[in-house]
Symmetry: C2
Subunit: 406 residues, 2 copies
């Protein structure tokens, strides 16, 4: 009999009415004979409410206490869902991270799962009872409560699915799957029925916030299929798997974009070994997330380094680079905080030559200037002026034959 983990986010747990709807989805699966374990997030808004209380007391409260505080959010929603299931005649028990056997390291607020000891839940699942486990949390060796960081519930769900040897991990959310691109920009965007872990990782890292990157990495490592689907309507969503069952793949699977990027350049640095790390080290130390990096030799013995950072970190980065500029005897620092990334993604491009070139051609025909390029085996990303985002996405979506037949 099929064993499945259901994961419900804050929206699905946002009100008693939503919890009722969630319980009905679970009941439906049980009636189909499936064995179900559930992972839940806190009711939407609750984590922020609790953090707000803490921040009102102290701008930087101790992480251990923040974890103890916010972890209550999931405990409340797990208990409420268990009560609702009980109300529908289903035996159900809530478990917090500790009780469910989620052992983590001690990095409060961003703990990593070491081990999930959930064998005691299997006996319940097998007789049709439903354990409801709090997502996002665990406890360390000393018994301190830890949390996995924002969005950690997806990771909890996959970890539980692996631990109880589920056949699939259903992630219920407010969208019904991954689309070939943002339907707000391209009306002909269509739902992707199946996507590989690698592609999903690329989509996720580009701000398709439907799945936490860590959860996909974990699913890939343990080959756990994820079914990303809607909690509002019972339709097939997007299956994220390792198997590529399609007979033939399209050149690319989708077009993604990310606004709110900024680009900075430090020019004319006297070139010497290790210069990249002398520039990027201090940036990383300041907890600024560097993304696309390009290093060129500008003139003899001088080099330029350009990289993108989140727009919110633009000012801090510029300040840092100006200091570095003096230290490293570089010539100049330049910046632009109105850029965006546009990417084409697809495992298909491995076997299709010239995908990158086709992308550049398409953009060139639209007179979109490409400022930076970075490629991976299954992705090509360009940095362009933000004002071209919609145009670029639409042109690429059409050129790569992704427009749905309407």
């Amino acid at each position: 009999m099929m064993r499945v983990v259901h994961k419900y986010g804050g929206t699905s747990m946002g009100s008693l009415e939503r919890i009722r709807a969630t319980a009905k989805i679970i009941k439906k699966d049980l009636l189909l004979g499936r064995k179900v374990a559930v992972v839940v997030s806190a009711m939407s808004g609750e984590t922020n409410r609790l953090l707000g209380l803490a921040k009102e007391i102290d701008a930087s409260p101790p992480c251990r206490e923040l974890d103890a505080l916010v972890s209550t959010g999931e405990q409340v929603s797990a208990a409420l869902l268990a009560i609702e299931l009980h109300h529908l005649g289903i035996k159900s028990y809530s478990y917090n991270g500790y009780q469910a056997g989620f052992r983590t390291d001690s990095s409060h607020a961003r703990a990593r799962i070491i081990d999930v000891q959930s064998d005691h839940l299997i006996a319940h699942i097998e007789v049709g009872e439903v354990p409801v486990v709090t997502g996002f949390q665990g406890s360390d060796k000393a018994g301190n409560i830890t949390t996995l960081g924002r969005g950690g519930s997806d990771t909890s769900a996959v970890a539980l699915a692996v631990a109880i040897k589920a056949d699939v991990c259903n992630i219920y959310t407010d969208v019904d799957g991954i689309y070939t691109t943002d339907p707000r920009i391209v009306a002909q965007a269509s739902k992707i029925d199946q996507i590989s872990y690698e592609e999903m990782l690329e989509f996720a890292s580009l701000g398709a916030k439907v799945l936490q990157t860590r959860s996909v990495e974990m699913a890939m490592r343990f080959n756990m299929p994820i079914h990303l689907r809607s909690s509002f309507e019972d339709v097939q969503g997007t299956m994220v798997t390792g198997e590529d069952t399609a007979m033939e793949r399209a050149e690319i699977t989708g077009v993604a974009y990310h606004r709110d990027e900024a680009k900075v350049t430090i020019q004319g640095i006297p070139d010497q070994p290790g210069i990249a790390s002398r520039v990027l080290g201090p940036v990383a130390d300041a907890d600024i997330n560097v993304d696309v990096i390009v290093q060129n030799v500008s003139e003899q013995d001088y080099t330029d380094i350009t990289f993108t950072v989140p727009r919110d970190d633009y000012n801090a980065t510029m300040k840092l680079l100006n200091t570095l500029c003096t230290e490293l005897k570089a010539k100049k620092v330049k910046g632009d905080d109105t850029v965006a990334k546009v990417s084409i993604i697809g495992v298909g491009m491995r076997s299709h030559a010239g995908v990158a070139r086709k992308m550049f051609d398409v953009l060139s025909k639209e007179n979109i200037n490409i400022q930076m390029i970075t490629t991976s085996e299954i992705k090509v990303t360009v940095v362009v002026d933000e004002k071209y985002v919609e145009l670029a996405v639409r042109a690429l979506h059409t050129a790569f034959d992704l427009d749905a037949v309407s």
Copy 2:
């Protein structure tokens, strides 16, 4: 160095402002060189809010889930207080019931503490750090979250004080101690500086709701002094101890009363052994709390049984007795739901003869008819018409020399 447990109720944790005031009280004690561990209740209203959510889903939700749900209330307030203490420069760590080592039986919603394994907290206390422990909760052998029932935080505090070998358990509340009687009835009522466990138990059972009965029983068993005091002003409260340090005791310590009582009588029951249990058994089975019981022989071979019940249970009790009346071939059932209990309490009465008689005299002089009488070694209780409560309390308070010199 003095080791002390502080317990703060829902009012003391009711807002961030109150939590700030609470943290200041703790800091003051630390500055005096005391070693402090803290037990807290949920923010006032929170437990009811959570129960409300559960009841909205199901009128009788599973107890295990209710415990998981409401126990989050204390976890939130404990974490917030730890953050506030940290903000004042004090190292502090919150512990939920499980983490603090509170092992209970599995009776959800009314669990009994089996054992408190809090040795790991002592090291923190000894170096001036402050563990903040959630009151009202623990976990059973299987790791399920349990709660001790309403007011259980007092019991948690005493249990922790015993476990860490504290010198005293300070219970901070919104009153500054136990009074000789209700100051709303007798303006000359005065605060009792010291009271014995036995007296406190009698006061508590009469509705002086400042301390949970179980906590006093536990303090008595382990001879743990309780200092009942105000969280609003730093004044001496009432010490509840086993030692009677006063050279001479007054005849009585205080006058207590309890309204909202009802009296029922089943008359003319054919007398036979075991008849009392045949009457009271079904009442107990219906979870109705029987208090004062009097049995008389009315005529040859017939007996009357009269007892009091909480007024809320009056109708249910009458219905039950009418059925029993037929079954037992008794003659009649009578009831009165406007009675009240008035008691005088004091260990002093052990050595003062005639205290009961003096009480009856006082009431008789005021033309108050005594309907029932029950006595213990340190208490005499009479049941009277509710309309006489104030008069009786005032007359007794004066007659037994309790009026404060103004």
